[in-house]
Subunit: 338 residues, 6 copies
């Protein structure tokens, strides 16, 4: 039976230069609509759940286009408010080999989402429609009003009996330099409301200010994650370690900490077509496994394969079905399916 | 001998849905960079002058792309400041027949141009490099700082011995409803500094608050324009009347008021491919004729043909050479040139 | 308050050669998903209603793509069955001037819709969710099973208290030559179930076999439509007369026969970008007016303008909002909206 | 029964800016391969004949591409020599309304065709394979070697019992100013070998130096064409008068002079998509009618409709079938064929 | 001297989503026309032979487009019948890395080829025009009529003195599960008529039901292929082993069994752009070597390089010349040729 | 402080088939304008210098397009003469894996640049505006007039006190077979005028005819380059060794010989997107380092990274800023910058 899931967050317009040309070279852009909330909710929709996004979009042709594109991604859009004037945008110039991809933002602070009135949303009503809600640290970085909305919504979900998941997703560029202490308070508010958290040892150290004597990632993780779970009463914590290899492939290893026990996925190595949104695919896979009641081994293998496949899909938003992901878990290298 | 000309104004990124699709239907945009200042300066560059634009662009890949595209249009870009964070943008959905084109703006008030510091520009230095400067009423609608910069620049040009032209270009949407009185003061500041003004009787009545007992456009024009010239000591005033015909062709008739005498161009009727920027083409034609010292009849015929051709060019910016325009003046209907 | 509306019919994949090239010249196709049911339901969705489509699509990537695209058009897709193997397709080569557009079909009879089991649909359940249902004569031309499903669905809607609309849409190519008599029985089954019918005098004469001594379309219409309404107990009948003019514009005049009274719309003349689906736009406008309880004059003006705008939209499916259509009713010729 | 037809002439690469952009604006070109010989031969292939082109192409990837594209157009390519180094090219910027299309050539004189050795072709062998051969005045303008080849080929065709057609196609730009007298000798060589000639009164006056006292085109034609036929013993002469109308439509009227009698086609007025190659479509229609033994009225109506349709086809080369043309003869304004 | 070669088989329309997008994401398709018969015949045409395809296409714009595109590929199309209503199609979504490519078929059983009348072809006439004929196991999987046509054609070729080649190409998806026994009879009919067969040990075991005690591919091959050759009196058998490597390159090793002796090619490892049709390239290389009378070592090296190059060509159909292939045999890694 | 730099050389139009299709497959080309002079000058413009190109372009739409595109690349175009009739062009079919890229030229000898009058340029005036001038061996291969212009320009630069750099760039295809001796004289003329030369041991051996007993590239380089520097009094010599690896990556190692001392860069290994113009990027990096007075280690590291990045940029012309290159020097493998 499908679950009813909601994500809260900004809907962004992605404007991408085709191929690997620069903005100075091209005269064409491909656009789509995404955001971590959109990505996780749409990924869960493709896994068979009924997914809502709670957000605000302007009541103009750009907002209309966003609605249409989100519906195409499988999202229910009736909880989107139409208000304010602008949609957040980012321009993407895809890198190649030694040249990294480059992202240029428009003014997100002026977006409909980031200027929505504190009491603009009816979180109680939204909470009554869903089984689980997903939040993200990028949203937490926006501004005080948005932070207050986010905490209020998570609170309402808990009260209504729903589950809360939270992806730390700390982006230094959004918080500004030296603002870890400022961010920490807000992260802690969300951790205290969350049933499930996505993070790794770096979040524990940098954002939450925890300390360790270990030097290796793995050892740091093994020490710190149980402490986080304990301190904030979190049932489930999951995350990944990513390595970028010399041949431009990436290697990804996921972990799941649940009931006091770590489960590590097999490290997967694969070619990368579109990097953005692949963390959201991992999160959606973990959430799906939890909702289905799978054992940790199955959940982490599924989430890792979901993330691997998301690297092969154009655009930010994961689009794989459970059947696609199970096939990818079963095979290593694929020829044509016909 | 080419003249050195400068325009002051915002550089906008135009993001156009290809063909006549809507933003909800397409996933592709074509982008270019324009603005009335860009359009007039680039048009004059194609007529053989050395054209500068004074403006501010962000120091990011969008600003770099704007610089590159403006250089391609023939503009000298060394007087563009790199500062601030954003570039103004507008999305264009082209209409067809009974369905009008639709423009959606991003937040222009946050653009590098509209947030530039009051004393950010060295107008004295810029004025020393040029023979003539062009300004536009769209810029005047932005904010107090920009208005102050605009007046300061026009003043500096006059002091340095250059000529000042000003296109009234009153856009109600930018000023807000009921703000004619507020706008008038600012328009008057510019009119007093201008040697040449682009306007018609509607500007005189609505923006300047002049009154007339005539009901016909032509009679209103004949009565009011000489009064404007007298009141603000303007040597030359020019403008157009546009009619949109039932078969989607447009008819355009230009006039030139100079030395107390009206000269009217032949009404031209033509098919329309891209409407935006065609008023700027007319202005550039008049400025060119004035710089060349042509008789009014030649100037108005040239400017009218320049505007007609601009309707046949993709994008906001007129790209016709003097030879192209003279050919269009000579012939009515064209077969292939080979 | 929005109504809940359903349409029944085949979902077709439209594969169009870009521009006006031929299939022998190009190597690219643009695809979308449509069908008269899709078009009417999506048009009503853009007018603010909650619209379902009842149909069958294969459970393969083409079916998935159809679902995604239909969602983007604003349709609720949960009443679509996934069964069978194929989707109906048609290839469109757009004409230009003296060269007509050309449509080539794949084998529709093998499509999921046309091979669905007689009892495959749960029409009672579907009927319980909606206020009105729309059917079309193209569906009636498919095969005996589909015809039986169509009558069963219309019947179920009536029983559940919903309204039934039916667009005659007689296509000789689908029925085959000399099959008017065969078609008539099936048309009569639907007419007897319909509250609202779309047709004109040609349907009355050719499909229903009625006779008239008049030679002019208008006189034939005035004589025959009341007879049809009487014979089959139809409350509302509406339709259009189309003229193709020498300059490639079309002229469209709509009529509405209701409560024994004819109301004729103003004839509208306009340029044509995409002809397909414009009859569906007219039907959706009439249905909308009826649901809103508008007076016939407003309804026919609205439906005519809706159809006119549909000629300016790429693709088969009308996408105009009520606000777009009201603007088109108010103005004749449009300049840029900015 | 199909006839075997050959055309002799240069194969050109056409490089067209998409849409109506200028070469300074775009960064994309669409390419195809054409030439009057290609156009007439391909048009006759689509009318059911077996068509060869005799020409020379370089033995490089551009020559390979030309061969592949010509085969797609329906031409037999085994009589094309592979020799020399270059292919002739022209760049096309499509005009719009008041802005004419613009053609820029590369150096044709260096092309494989124009540098082929005098005795490079085996005209006797080619003549033995065909029933009719078509030549064109553009080829005659190239250089002495090409002119000698052309006369030699026409001579060989006559000896082998085939028919010779010749389209005067005088292009002042290729011959240079003041070279009518020089051109005349070469035109006369071809006229003496031709069974059928395409021309109108302008060719008689300007190229052949004939004089008339009439001022109207029609009267000049009626006087001069019979004189041309008599002087050079030509059985059949045909041609068109073209008018470009204010609304950008063209009007075309064809004539056929045969057995001492003029037959005029109905003037056709139509919208124009691609102007180049439409004279070749007319010529192919006349040749087809002659080969079929049709009466002049049918032939001229068919050729006129063929030319009209060629204006609606992208690219230089007519692609209509006899069935397409007969439909266009029967109807004036077309809706969708489905 | 070129040979005259024919292939028999279905002509398919390939509709490919550009790049690596999914059908749910894109709105554009690129189309081409292929099929194993087309591929082998076109490959041999590019190697200098005169190649025919015997097949059936509908007499509609899709059939016309197929003919034009096949001519461009170098095929003689006069032996193609125009009959029936539909063309077989398949949609291709290209995979990336861990995500495999995906093929979705339309209903091939309804295609013109698969519904052609048993006696629709004049195989005796076709056989009289050619030196060799190629058949494929995909065709054998279609239906009884097609199987009967295939055997009849191969028989006619043998009677006329031509050579018969047959590529086993067993596709489980087309035959259905558990149908090896059913397929075997039909395969045996073709093997008995074939001079040359393409297969490997898997065909011998699965399709022909042969048994082996060996576990390694190579040993199985060495044991079984000579048995096949003996049992069915086949002069030449050839085939490949393919390995997909972790870095997405493929390794291909070919073998040729002739006159009782095995010759193995060097294993080639290479990047893959378009996988489909590369087996046909191998077959065409072997056929070419046999027709040229090359020694087995040269033939297998040539066929392997031909297949390797086919992986670098967009579309199903190999397009390399003998010179291209010889260059690829000589070099391992290529820089620009200029 | 920026330097003023000029390059002398032909401006070529590059016409590239999109993706990896062949000219026989596609119908679209992407065009840009380049040439070694353009590439080096534009690269230096992106590094902050004021860059001119001295060349000749036709006064037609292709010449206009070249000017506009060169301005977009950052070049000052006022020293370009408009004369002659044609622009040199080359067609590029991009290879993939085992299939090399393929370049086909039009007739460069007829280009405006290669037919410019011996005294057409005012080299003294140009020399007075600049600090350094760059020349290339490709230009030297054109014809006697161009060679004389080149030497005259280099001479004028030296007289005016500017620095001369020369890239040997020996292209056997342009000089013809067996013409090393002929080329040597011309190379020596340039070497004698050059302050800085780009070459490696192969140029010393093949073009300059020097001999060595060493077999290894490195040893040959270490022996011969100092001899070249001594013989022709060259202050600085630099160059690269390129290796193409089995996985299609390239490895590049640069060297700089200055003040009698060799400095070698770290070998860099990277994926290749667009190979053309990457040698020009290396040259521009060395020139920049020299102008800035950097130590050899910094210069060679910078130039190597500049060349590596140029392999990741679409088109011939390097577009990286100093900041881009410094980032590439600092990091090995890049994730998204956001």
């Amino acid at each position: 039976m499908p679950n009813r899931i909601v994500a809260f967050g900004e809907i962004m317009m992605r404007l991408q230069v085709p191929g690997v040309e620069l903005l100075t070279q091209s005269n064409t852009l491909q656009y789509s609509f995404s955001g971590t909330g959109v990505n996780v909710a749409a990924a869960l929709s493709h896994l068979g759940h009924h997914s809502y996004i709670v957000s605000t979009l302007p009541d103009n042709p750009l907002g209309d286009a966003a609605i249409a594109h989100l519906r195409k991604l499988g999202l229910a859009t009736e909880l989107i408010r139409r208000d304010g004037q602008y949609i957040g945008m980012y321009f993407l110039e895809s890198g190649f080999g030694a040249r990294p991809s480059r992202v240029t933002y428009t003014n997100r602070q002026q977006s409909s989402f980031n200027t929505a009135a504190l009491n603009g949303y009816d979180f109680a009503a939204a909470s009554s429609k869903i089984d689980a809600a997903h939040f993200c640290g990028i949203t937490l970085a926006m501004n005080d009003t948005v932070r207050a909305q986010m905490v209020a919504f998570a609170h309402a979900v808990r009260i209504a009996g729903g589950k809360v998941s939270f992806d730390c997703n700390y982006r230094p560029g959004l918080w500004g330099e030296g603002s870890h202490a400022f961010a920490r308070t807000h992260y802690e508010s969300m951790l205290e409301l969350a049933d499930m958290v996505f993070m790794n040892e770096k979040d524990a150290m940098l954002t939450l200010g925890m300390q360790t004597n270990y030097a290796q990632c793995r050892e740091q993780l093994l020490e710190l994650i149980p402490k986080v779970a304990l301190k904030y009463s979190i049932q489930t914590i999951a995350g990944t370690h990513r390595t970028i290899n010399k041949d431009n492939t990436h290697t990804l290893q996921g972990y799941l900490f649940k009931d006091g026990r770590f489960t590590f996925g097999e490290p997967l190595t694969f070619a990368v077509h579109d990097r953005i949104g692949t963390g959201d695919a991992f999160a959606s896979g973990i959430i799906h496994g939890q909702l289905k009641g799978w054992v940790p081994e199955e959940t982490i293998a599924f989430a890792s394969a979901a993330s691997m496949l998301a690297h092969t899909i154009t655009g930010d938003t994961p689009l794989s079905s459970e059947s696609d992901i199970r096939k990818a878990m079963a095979t290593s290298l694929g020829d044509i399916e016909r």
